[in-house]
């Protein structure tokens, strides 16, 4: 079970990232807990300056732009 957080202020790219991760997890049948983080102070505490960012089990794996499908598959 992976805990995944999508960091972003609610922009279109952040929503797209969230939806894509959800989709890939479903396709692969991987169980995840997906969470949106929209609070700016919390987002910044991860040390990223470009959104959307992706955090898996506490580690930042992606920042800026919607991650490619393949990349998400590799994470899961």
């Amino acid at each position: 079970m992976k805990y995944i957080k999508v960091l972003g202020s609610g922009c279109a790219n952040c929503k797209a990232t969230f939806a894509r991760i959800e989709k890939v997890a479903q396709e692969k049948g991987v169980e995840i807990t997906l969470e949106k983080v929209e609070d700016m102070a919390q987002i910044m505490s991860y040390g990223i300056m470009s959104t959307p960012g992706v955090v898996i089990d506490g580690e930042v794996v992606h920042a800026g732009g919607v991650p490619e499908q393949k990349k998400i598959e590799a994470w899961l």
Partner: protein
């Protein structure tokens, strides 16, 4: 000067495509307004989208080496003049989506970078970007591209410096000062050929998906300008004695918003109708740099008076730069 051969020697290919579709198959006359409008629209849509896809893909292959995080490290702790020069140049070449403005702003503040320098970065970034620059070169030649880049850099430099005079710190929302940033991390990137190709494809999808509507609107506006804009109106924007042309263009551009790429077809149409260079550049800059969506995002970190000042400073800076270019071009070309 506008009719220089473009980047793509195949320019005529798009013209012939438009001839075929509009005049031959559509049966419209090249003399009619509607014919001219549709011809421009078809030609520019085909030309711009083909170029966009090629440009973004190639840029994606080279995978940008710059990120806002790196820019921050370059700028922090530098003397003000150097910091601003870096902010303006890096702002021009660093890709970042306007939805990242807020974290970027906070990140800069947190690193102790002066607000005026941050504003310079925020002005330069939407106005100049590599896609717009290459497209400009392909459509209007390198001279005009160079002028646009110089004009944009000047506005960003002067605009940020002017903002600083007003001590914008007082308009920054309180919570911004309190945010503690974590250790900055740079996620690893895949630099294999396959990885680059996949990244480039995703860049094409992402960027074209984000800006296609603005580009179409820009082409539409350019086509209308081309076909229906009364010559007498165009002349009122071209008159060399008409000092009001530049402020008019800028004020017209403030409420309009488009991506820098979307403005290019409109500028193309304006120049072929004989609108002065400074006036055209001013309209391009005000449409690309001052946008309501961007301001709404910035409102999360800056209070209203600060934003109004930001818009006023930018408007004035763009007008001044527009006038300067008109003076220079008329001076050199009597």
């Amino acid at each position: 000067m506008v009719r220089e051969a473009g980047l793509l020697g195949k320019k005529r290919m798009f013209e012939q495509l438009a001839n075929l579709l509009v005049y031959q198959m559509g049966g419209l006359s090249p003399e009619s307004h509607l014919g001219t409008v549709l011809h421009f629209f078809v030609m520019d849509t085909a030309k711009i989208f083909v170029m966009l896809i090629i440009i973004i893909y190639i840029m994606g292959l080279f995978r940008t080496l710059l990120s806002p995080e790196k820019v921050r490290d370059y700028i922090r702790g530098r003397s003000k003049a150097l910091a601003r020069t870096l902010a303006v140049t890096l702002g021009a070449v660093t890709p970042f989506c306007s939805c990242s403005s807020v974290p970027l702003f906070i990140g800069f503040v947190e690193a102790g970078i002066p607000l005026g320098v941050t504003f310079s970065f925020l002005i330069a970034s939407p106005m100049i970007n590599e896609v717009a620059v290459v497209l400009l070169m392909g459509i209007m030649g390198w001279k005009l591209t160079l002028l646009y880049v110089i004009a944009g850099l000047t506005v960003a430099y002067v605009g940020g410096a002017a903002m600083e005079r007003f001590h914008p710190e007082r308009w920054v929302e309180d919570y911004v000062w309190k945010i503690q940033m974590g250790q900055v991390v740079q996620p690893a990137v895949d630099t294999s050929l396959q990885g680059r190709h996949e990244f480039a494809i995703s860049e094409v999808k992402e960027i074209v998906g984000r800006i296609w509507l603005w580009v179409l609107i820009g082409i539409g506006a350019g086509a209308l300008f081309h076909g229906y804009f009364p010559q007498s109106w165009a002349e009122s924007l071209t008159g060399r004695d008409n000092f009001l042309a530049v402020p008019m263009a800028v004020i017209l551009g403030v409420p309009l918003y488009s991506n820098a790429v979307g403005v290019i077809p409109l500028a193309e149409a304006m120049l072929t109708k004989g609108v002065a260079i400074g006036t055209t550049l001013a309209l391009m800059m005000s449409i690309a740099a001052i946008s309501l969506p961007e301001l709404l995002i910035l409102r999360k970190v800056i209070r209203l008076p600060g934003l109004l000042l930001f818009v006023s400073v930018l408007t004035i800076a763009i007008i001044l730069v527009g006038w300067t270019f008109n003076l220079l071009s008329f001076g050199g070309n009597p």
